[in-house]
Symmetry: C2
């Protein structure tokens, strides 16, 4: 299939018997040209259905007004919300957005960066894949002075701005909630240990335990690979424990949902036998039976803040010095934990 021809300035110029630069000036409403010619040109452009070639324009001004976004996966409701926030606010400020997903692999993350850089994006918003434990590609970006920031899945060693939730605080509150509602043995089910949020949420968990004068029990910390199979395996392990926890805090909602699907058929009562809480507030968490206590993370807001900060930096309205923006989370107590 051959693409139809696009009207260019040259063609308008020929038709009107003026030079291309005059067209260019008219179309960007330059003050220094006769109102009549300007009017003639604008009308002709509309008549011919002229659309500027952004490629040529970007090449010329060496700016694309396009941002690149990399997320682990677009089908996650949380990341989709982030993207939505990024896109809406980028558009509002005259920027377009190119979105890529790493599918949680380091390899694709690198490839995405390469593509976006080749596409000459003005800046990047990156949320790291689960697999990412080496950061050369990001330091490389930094060394090449390509503006970018990290959001949600961040790493603290790279000297760029980052936007995160108060994961430690959120985990503290949910653990505290479990303890306040009568749990004595609260378990933390973590994701892979080098994940930023695994660590942060564990800190919050431990903080709450300490506050209640409880010693951390290594038996009460489990690590899931976050696949459905992994979660199911751990659910069975917990069910078989001779000395079960009476409260379980899962690093993310899907783990808790998988646990429920295993425990409910076994007759384990939630929250009476074990209270259960998650993190992120997936849509499914609100409708499952019993509804899952969790921690809300406003993804749209995160996207908005992230893109606003990056654009502020790009446009010189914010310092280039890295800053850390921390969003607060909200505990959503529901029936999977006991009432106060």
């Amino acid at each position: 299939m051959k693409k139809g021809h696009q009207v260019t300035m040259k063609e308008i110029a020929k038709k009107l018997g003026v030079s291309v630069s005059t067209i260019s000036r008219a179309l960007k409403d330059s003050p220094e040209l006769h109102p009549d010619t300007k009017k003639r040109i604008v009308e002709m452009a509309k008549e011919m259905n002229y659309q500027p070639n952004l490629l040529a324009q970007s090449l010329r001004i060496s700016r694309t007004n396009t941002l690149g976004v990399i997320v682990p996966e677009i089908t996650s409701h949380f990341f989709a919300s982030c993207i939505s926030g990024i896109q809406d606010h980028a558009n509002k400020r005259g920027y377009n957005v190119m979105i890529c997903q790493s599918n949680e692999t380091l390899e694709l993350e690198k490839a995405n960066i390469r593509t976006l850089v080749s596409s000459q994006v003005d800046g990047l918003l990156i949320s790291l894949s689960r697999e990412t434990n080496k950061y050369d590609h990001l330091f490389d970006l930094y060394n090449r002075e390509i503006p970018f920031l990290l959001f949600d899945r961040v790493n603290e060693d790279i000297p760029v701005s980052r936007v995160t939730f108060n994961d430690e605080g959120g985990a503290y509150h949910v653990t505290k909630h479990l303890l306040e509602t009568g749990c004595k043995r609260v378990m933390y089910v973590s994701g892979p240990e080098d994940l930023y949020i695994s660590k942060k949420r564990k800190e919050g968990y431990l903080h709450a335990l300490t506050e209640f004068g409880i010693d951390a029990d290594p038996e009460l910390v489990k690590i899931s690979d976050l696949t459905s199979e992994g979660n199911v395996k751990i659910a069975h392990e917990i069910a078989k424990m001779t000395n079960r926890p009476d409260g379980v805090f899962c690093m993310i909602d899907p783990v808790a949902l998988d646990f429920m699907s295993v425990w409910k058929p076994m007759g384990i009562k939630i929250p009476d036998d074990m209270a259960l809480a998650g993190f992120t507030n997936n849509p499914a968490s609100a409708v499952i039976e019993p509804p899952l206590t969790t921690v809300a993370q406003p993804g749209y807001e995160m996207g908005k803040l992230a893109v606003s900060h990056l654009l502020d930096q790009l446009e010189g309205q914010a310092s280039d010095d890295p800053i850390s923006i921390v969003l607060e989370t909200t505990l959503l107590p529901r029936q999977s934990t006991k009432a106060l």
Copy 2:
């Protein structure tokens, strides 16, 4: 913030004392140059961390290897799946993807098209907004010979390829399932009437009724604006009916989920008082209590097929004549309807 400089061919050329065209040839592995120089150039390019400027390249060859995608909203799990399928398979064939959302408005849909066309995308994959009831912008695209196709939310008057589900068939099967499991008065809750899927699913609903020798009752068709408020309002209307339906088929899952949230606190038993079924298989539908009978639509598969066909057309591996690709759906009987 100022973006760091990107290495160009010119710089490699100067460093190696050869001409730019030689660099160009070496980097695209042209056969007609000395293996040694080629090797030298490739090595130097890697050392200097050269990345081609896709803008310049695209301008030159007047092809961007980029596709544009427009969806109503990215936060819908179904559309996120489509995007995922599109992206994976576009990448596989060496194409990038620019994603836009119309937020269900005609205005943004038009703006998105303008942006993507200006960005010189090689083709477009479009799923129409709910609001779209005029099609000038699409006919315009057609007249300008810009390759595009429609998926899921399509219109049949535009002479381009489209990829849809067998909506009629899916609705037929779910209605038939309701009738087979004992329902006598089955209601259809539709979305706005000019929506393609509203019409198609109604046809399937009517088809099943006819097959069971039941006359269509206008009281048993309701139209929702598909907002949560609209759904809740209709849920109450149904609850108040003197002659309630004993089975309700909702055009999309969220409507059914909203109905449940209204009916459960009222003590209406599902499926005994009213059986309930949806369409699309949202993640939440599987975990709600009782789990919602629905129709699975493989979004990833749809995205894959759509992008494959468009690329086939672009690359001359498929005829330019519009075709209609229809994907089959799968009925997922769950506890919100009675067992057979």
